[in-house]
Amino acid sequence: MGILSKKDAALIKDPLFDNNPITIQVLGICSALAITAELKASIVMALSVLFVLGVGNVVISLMRNIIPSKIRIIVQLIVVASLVIIVDLVLKAFAYELSKTLSVFVGLIITNCIIMGRFEAFALGNGPWKSFLDGVGNALGYGVILVIVGFFRELLGSGTLLGFKVLGDPIEKTGLYAIGYENNGFMLLSPMALIVVGIIIWVQRSKNKTLIEEA
């Protein structure tokens, strides 16, 4: 990363792997379980969070010296909520089709604990550029897990990827279905998302033993 100093690069890289918001900090689990039944929804949610967290972190960072500490959480909430409403309105006005596909996700962004977490833990104490990198890094770390979970749930649950029937047609019994393969409907339900996230955590920690907490 030529244009970024080593410290700045770490702001993006850390949350992607060794300090991932979902698998290490266990934040944002709720939305990771709810919306990962389809790969497309996962990607869209990841992009929405990327925008809100990137911009929100900068806004909070710019205001960090004037926010009264007694009401800082409320101020943070207002910033997230306003950003989300603005995104929603702009999409409805200029990209109506896309806003229909997003539907509930836009609203769900507000409830994402990663966003409030980064505002509180990072943007309140750091400059705008660093906060922007931190926001982007955390959103990417969140997005990567979402896409991985969405990939496996859609593939094993519906036999499709982004809506394309990659494993053949289950009703006409072509492709894999011809030799008796069946979709696992359980993959579409939220508990399996938790199990997939669990498997990712397991793989990650067995590769990097330093991540394992002392019992």
Partner: protein, 248 residues
């Protein structure tokens, strides 16, 4: 953090300024974008109605509307009459498609008469009657348009939702679900209105039997499916007198 940001006066002042700034920003955004949003919703209604009667750009598996740029022309071309049924009286109204079904339902709840819009379309020499329906899903509103022939046999359906679960209830707007309704009968042979039920275990997953008043349910979306059954039964039953009068 410096001392000056700790005082009560400062805190309250900050809160007031913040609320005013954010409030006016959002109000400004909302009112300046409102015409665009309204226009998009108007075009979408036309697209929905056309979709139900088979004017669409579907490819093999996905559902696609006619493009927004031609929706107005196509609507004028295919929709021959827009009717409003009020208390049994049928009148023509060229803006019937703008009637808000939700408001009409609320009026009916208050005991006032409900205006029922119905769109008469023609395509390839066939006449379609398209009716809007609206109901409740698991999380929020669901609605749709059902195109029928004069015997109340479904010719096409379009469903949409405000916030059903993606991958589960949201699949009511998938082709494989909507297409299942095509050919289904709403009336029994003896001329009674029975509707169509979204049924689990109807032993007819490929939907060969069109007179069983059942289509195959979606896995993991029982409540949304029940909502679809309920809105078809509830809202389309209101049109039965009109269809009976067609036969006389």
């Amino acid at each position: 953090m410096s001392k000056k940001t700790e005082g009560n006066v400062y805190t309250i002042g900050f809160a007031i300024v913040m609320v005013i700034v954010v409030g006016s920003l959002l109000a400004f955004m909302a009112s300046s974008l409102k015409p665009n949003i309204k226009e998009n919703q108007r075009i979408e209604k036309q697209q929905n109605i056309l979709y139900a009667m088979g004017v669409n750009e579907n490819d093999e598996t996905s559902a696609n509307f006619v493009s927004t740029t031609v929706a107005g022309q196509e609507f004028a071309k295919y929709i021959k009459k827009q009717l409003v049924i009020e208390d049994g009286k049928v009148t023509e109204n060229e803006n019937a498609y703008l009637i808000d079904v939700k408001k009409e339902k609320d009026r009916a709840k208050k005991g006032e008469t409900r205006r029922l819009p119905l769109f008469v379309g023609e395509k390839d020499g066939k006449t379609f009657y398209v009716a809007p329906i609206r109901g409740k899903g698991l999380w929020d509103a669901i609605w749709g348009y059902v195109a029928m022939d004069e015997n109340m046999v479904v010719q096409g359906a379009y469903f949409d939702h405000k916030g059903e679960t993606p991958g589960l209830g949201a699949n009511i707007k998938q082709r494989y679900f909507m297409d299942d309704f095509i050919g289904e009968h709403l009336m029994t042979d003896s001329g009674e209105f029975k509707g169509i039920t979204v049924a689990k275990g109807n032993n007819d997953p490929t939907n060969e039997d069109k007179t069983d008043h059942e289509v195959d349910a979606l896995a993991g979306a029982t409540i949304t499916g029940d909502g679809v059954s309920a809105m078809i039964k509830g809202d389309l039953a209101l049109y039965v007198p009109f269809f009976k009068s067609l036969k006389k």
